[in-house]
Symmetry: C2
Subunit: 336 residues, 2 copies
């Protein structure tokens, strides 16, 4: 566990070597997702945008990278009891799939009333759902009870050494081995900056490790209505989000401690975006790439559209973090 | 022009060799689109479904194949005056792009009140729009006037030798050189049947030429609310559609003469589907492949879900014909 300490704290924080190790560990399970481009999006942004398609990742989001790395990192005797987590979103489905691939059980604590599509995703990968009240406190209480009753290792959605290292592999591919989709225009050159959504900071943490090592500028993007990462970075300490009323359901969480320890050192800036920008960016992606991207995944493009590209960056790598849009919420047009 | 006559008629009808010639002619402009699979969709259908992603084709639909072949087949002296057509949909944008790539002008007659996204698609590829009343008669009258005033060759959306041959190249790739998307499961073997949407019959006509030559069974699929192809096939003569009130806007047209001359000889059956099936299939595609497919492109999957796979076919090749969904029509969820 190289880079096991950060800033002298006792936190167990991964370093770049852990991202490389994760890439090797998960290579046989995880998809090396393609990079797509769109001339129309480039024109609107005013720079070349390389879109890393983690919406095409297994279980529909980059979350499978971290979950896979965490599950594969367990020693056999620890894995035998299974894994558990609390999640209202993509981590639950990702962990269920990662567990199934190791033939161990997964239990996911989910708030009652979570979208049908999210429940189905966990169940379709063989995970067991345990319901709780829709508060963070209730989730944590229920998770503790699950661990007491069933055993099993808790795999936190983002504040976890191996999860952070696993999420970093998306940026590692984007920098070291971008593979333009066969139907898409090739990139004009390597990306100069990395821009990813930030909720709990798993993806941004891992991306930061890669950017720092490879000499790429790193930026995060989050909804203005859940701007805890921006405020935390400014303040130099974690400021939890309150009442994050945003359509970007993957980004409603507050930064984790390990995540902040990494992010605060190297991230150049956190950009915040309006709800309108998120929807507009999501539409643009659907229209011009023909890819279904969920609201959280559209947040980096929203930042580029709202703020313009980072000064001096001609080519920006963006992670389209997931494709699990809640189609039920889109309105009557898609619902027979 | 092999196969220049069909059933003794004087119609100028392409044969398989013309599809091969089209493939060579358009190779440098047209994308060899990937084939994706979905275990979940296979499970629901009860057979393996190979989804040919023409929604990822340039201009967002297979229509670019036919338009490209038609424009590249013009002699220089004929091309100089430009091209024109009437279209309320994907053919207009495809022709505009094909013309721009040959540096000739394109005029597209469109009904007033056509969706904004369709107008924008024509304009973004440099086509000029001339508006007319929203009736077929008005479109044809206006097109004649455009030809009289501006000159230019008319490229019919489907009842055209080179358009049919060009559309056949999608099925040719699917049969001879399917390229599984890098993030998708490989196919278990070659497809045994081909199933494509049918409106005017350009795609089904070209697909039929390929299926007949390569020994694949060929099926069409259309909305029950625009079931002219099914009725025409049964009756042995073209029965035009009346008041085709379907969400599958690409399939509201009646069969063309050249198209019917090919289709009647070799197509095994035309399957009709409900509007509910179309929406359900479109949703499934969005959810499980993360690809935006327009209603017309979801019609073949709708047929498989509604009727089951063709008896004896374990692996079915389906063309996802286009991705230009009218997102404005989807409801408030996508519209900031």
């Amino acid at each position: 566990m190289s880079g096991g300490t950060a800033g002298g704290s006792a936190l167990d924080v991964p370093g770049f070597a852990d991202v490389e190790a994760a890439a090797r560990r998960i290579a046989s399970q995880v998809r090396h997702t393609p990079v797509v481009t769109s001339r129309e999006i480039d024109r609107l942004v005013g720079a070349e945008v390389a879109l890393k398609c983690e919406n095409l990742q297994r279980a529909g989001a980059f979350k499978f990278r971290g979950a896979s790395n965490a599950v594969l990192s367990l020693r056999d005797e620890d894995a035998a009891g299974g894994v558990c987590t609390h999640s209202s979103g993509n981590h639950g489905a990702a962990l269920a799939l990662a567990a199934r691939l190791r033939s161990i059980p997964a239990t996911v604590v989910m708030p009652a009333g979570a979208p049908r599509v999210k429940r189905r995703a966990v169940e379709s990968h063989g995970g067991e759902i345990v319901e709780c009240e829709p508060t963070l406190a209730a989730r944590e209480t229920m998770l503790r009870r699950v661990v007491e009753e069933r055993g099993g290792r808790v795999i936190h959605p983002y504040d976890n050494f191996h999860v952070i290292a696993g999420q970093g592999t998306a940026a590692l591919e984007l920098v070291d081995d971008p593979r333009p989709a066969p139907w898409s225009e090739p990139l004009g050159g390597p990306v100069e900056a990395l821009l990813v959504p930030v909720g709990g900071g798993g993806l941004l943490g891992g991306t930061t490790l890669v950017g720092a090592k490879r000499g790429r500028r790193v930026f995060g993007a989050e909804p203005a209505r859940a701007d805890d990462a921006m405020r935390s970075l400014r303040a130099g300490r974690i400021i939890p989000v309150e009442a994050p009323d945003t359509i970007a359901d993957g980004l409603r969480t507050s930064l984790g401690e390990r995540n902040f320890a990494i992010i605060r050192r190297e991230v150049e800036d956190i950009l915040t975006v309006s709800e309108e920008s998120i929807l507009a960016a999501m539409r643009l992606l659907w229209e011009h790439t023909k890819l279904v991207v969920e609201p959280s995944g559209a947040v980096p493009l929203a930042a580029l559209l709202q703020h313009g590209p980072p000064r001096g960056a001609a080519r920006i790598g963006v992670v389209l973090s997931g494709g699990n849009a809640d189609l039920d919420a889109l309105g009557p047009g898609l619902n027979p």
